[in-house]
């Protein structure tokens, strides 16, 4: 038996990377900042955000499609990543503005005064002027970047350790992850949690230190970063599920008792996968929210995490490209239909306005997919490749 290099054994990884590269170059060439301007900046942002969602979907696929944990809490990690980067974005930018305004004052402000003035700017909306403990590192980009992966990672580690140790499984585990998300959302909604309650963090599209750079350019830079993150995350996860590790986690999905009797520490594997996926999801979130511009606790609503599961299911779980296809297709379609630009459908006696009826169609189509195409969109690719294999 000869072994080919990893990339050659997985042609789908190559195809995905190539498609991603072509897409990125094409959007760049049509952007307002670097090309013809056919794609407006707002659209570039939508596309960049979609790539981040696709990365979150790939991580979801790792957790659900490969090791079999239907986590309804992935968006908690996504949003936490956003909050962590948002802290720096908001603090550094507010500090810069405050410093400029105080520079006119006769006596230059001390660092403490500067910090206090910044804090009262940020927390005025929730009636506070102190900088909460959780903002201790907000002045430092490297530290907040570290927190982007560390905080969601630790949360996943702690939650996973508790849940897997007591062998909570199946639907129970799903409900528990949902409860975790809800608890986190409710906590963030409080004004005294230190994250500005339901105001959330805003103005995140303005990057401190890059004031001279237009949003048109920034949007393209973020598109590149998102594409790179998706590419790297995709390769990492494809490598992970390709080898013996992937074999073991799929075995855990199918029959975890049997895997235990083979001597594998099932809980350890689940913990590694759950934590890693949480960190990848957090990175996706940290890239998403600067493009969205605002983050608030509503982003953690349990329904958002279920949507992520829906995308993966529609795309086809257990196949990484399925997750990407599902996330991209459904999220872009959703924003098109709910954006009010889709033409109304005139039925005899009733005009279907998509703004109102898209959600209904999505819900029902989801029922249809689980019933009739459990392999999702990727299942059709399987039909195609299998026919080709048998033909050759």
């Amino acid at each position: 038996m000869t072994r080919k290099p990893f990339i050659l054994r997985n042609p789908s990884v190559l195809v995905m990377l190539a498609a991603l590269a072509v897409f990125t170059v094409a959007v760049t060439l049509m952007s307002q900042a670097y090309g013809s301007g056919a794609v407006p900046t707002s659209m570039v942002k939508v596309l960049g955000k979609t790539l981040c969602l696709a990365l979150a979907a790939v991580a979801m696929d790792l957790v659900w499609g490969y090791i079999g944990i239907l986590s309804l809490g992935q968006m908690a990690f996504f949003a936490l990543g956003g909050y962590m980067i948002g802290q720096w974005l908001m603090y550094a930018r507010t500090e810069a503005i405050v410093a400029t305004s105080l520079a006119q004052a006769p006596i230059p402000p001390t660092p403490l005064e500067l910090q206090e003035a910044t804090a009262s700017q940020i927390f005025g909306v929730v009636g506070s002027s102190d900088l909460p403990m959780v903002w201790s590192f907000a002045h430092s980009l490297p530290l907040q970047l570290l927190l982007v992966v560390a905080v969601p990672g630790l949360l996943a580690l702690l939650f996973g350790w508790l849940a897997f140790r007591s062998r909570v499984n199946g639907v129970y585990l799903s409900i528990l992850t949902q409860a975790m998300t809800l608890a986190l959302a409710l906590w963030l909604f409080q004004n005294d949690s230190g994250f500005r309650g339901n105001n959330g963090l805003s103005g995140l599209q303005n990057i401190p230190g890059l004031d001279g750079v237009s949003q048109a350019r920034l949007s393209i830079w973020f598109l590149w970063a998102s594409a790179a993150a998706l590419g790297l995350g995709y390769v990492l996860i494809a490598w992970l599920v390709g080898g013996k590790f992937g074999s073991v986690i799929r075995a855990i999905r199918d029959d975890e008792t049997r895997v235990r009797f083979l001597g594998y520490p099932v809980e350890g594997f689940k913990l590694v996968v759950f934590t890693l996926a949480a960190m990848i999801t957090a990175v996706a979130g940290a890239l998403y929210y600067p493009q969205a511009g605002i983050i608030n606790p509503a982003e953690l609503a349990p329904i958002a995490s279920i949507y992520l599961a829906v995308w993966v299911a529609i795309g086809g779980r257990g196949r990484l490209y399925g997750a990407v296809i599902g996330a991209v297709a459904v999220s872009l379609l959703s924003s098109w239909f709910t954006g009010g630009r889709a033409p109304d459908l005139a039925l005899p006696g009733y005009v279907v306005k998509w703004v109102d009826w898209w959600q209904v169609a999505l819900g029902l189509s989801f029922v249809l997919v689980t019933l009739f195409a459990p392999r999702g969109i990727a299942g059709f690719f399987d039909l195609f490749t299998r026919r080709r294999e048998s033909g050759s």
Partner: protein, 297 residues
């Protein structure tokens, strides 16, 4: 004094959770199916109550009509859901969860399209308004007493159906051993359909009850669904006493936490959920666990 008042509040919370969860206990406990659309069945019940009230102006009469009407509407919806979707996803519990979620978002949006986004009133009859006052501290609104009575009524009805009727016997048989039940001439499909309809029907009645004191919106169900699941999971699956214990625990606890920090209900809910997550660590099968080989399936 304060304690008694708190106790009464906890009791009324518990009866609401119990009402919302009892239907779920039937569908989740008997069929091991997570019905994410359960909250929407509660919402459908509440809207049925609203529609009945617009047709029948007399509030007492409309309430008397609304309760069976809500049961009928949601019973039918439940049977349809079971026959069209859930039956075909047997043995795929996680996919059932997601498919019923699809139904849930579709139902929510349909309600929004039909009734609009603003809250619809479902007004209680006059004899349910006001409060029963014992003294300055202890008082309880009549509607909460009514809900408590309704919860008791359902507990009784449920026990009667399960322990004293042919249907209950067959449901218990199917729960314990579907294959054996089938070989004795019980049709498990029919039982599954009926018990799903029953659970959904109860959700509809709970919806009318909840609608009497809460605002009827398309998101009504979402407010209760997570708590209902918690109630069932904390109590222990497949046992009505477990559901009762779960509702009692959650009702009491949310009241106690709230009273410790009355200004901050969000914090109370957060701690509540954290408590449940930790509770599950120590009693993964709930307060009253299912025992024996059936529990391992």
């Amino acid at each position: 004094m304060k304690g008694i008042d708190l106790g009464l509040d906890a009791l009324s919370f518990a009866s609401i959770y119990f009402l919302a969860a009892i239907g779920l206990a039937v569908t989740f406990g008997v069929m091991r199916v997570i019905n994410m659309a359960h909250g929407e069945f509660i919402m459908m019940g509440a809207y049925t109550g609203y529609v009945v009230q617009t047709l029948i102006p007399d509030r007492t009469l409309s309430l008397i009509v609304a309760l069976p009407a809500a049961f009928a509407v949601t019973f039918a919806a439940g049977v349809a859901l079971e026959r069209l979707v859930i039956r075909h996803l047997a043995k795929r519990p996680l996919e059932t969860l997601l498919a019923t979620f699809g139904v849930s978002i579709a139902l929510q949006q349909i309600a929004k399209n039909v009734f609009g986004t603003q809250a619809r009133p479902l007004t209680a009859p006059e004899w349910l308004e006001g409060a029963i006052t014992f003294n300055d501290v202890i008082s309880i609104s009549t509607i909460r007493v009514a809900i408590f009575v309704l919860a008791l009524l359902f507990l009784g009805l449920f026990l009667f159906i399960m322990k004293r009727t042919r249907l209950g016997l067959e449901v218990r048989a199917v729960t314990q051993n579907p294959g054996m039940a089938a070989s004795m001439g019980i049709n498990p499909d029919r039982i599954a359909m009926l018990s799903f309809g029953l659970g959904s029907g109860i959700a509809g009645i709970a919806g009318v009850a909840i609608g009497l004191f809460a605002k009827v919106t398309s998101e009504l169900g979402q407010d209760y669904i997570v708590q209902s699941f918690m109630t069932v999971v904390v109590g222990g699956v497949g046992n009505i006493w477990g559901t009762l214990a779960g509702a009692g625990l959650i009702g009491a606890l949310s009241k106690i936490i709230e009273s410790l920090n009355p200004s901050n209900t969000l914090a109370a809910q957060t701690f509540m959920i954290l408590f449940i997550i930790i509770f599950i660590q120590f009693r993964p099968r709930g307060i009253i666990p299912q025992k024996g080989r059936a529990a391992e399936a």
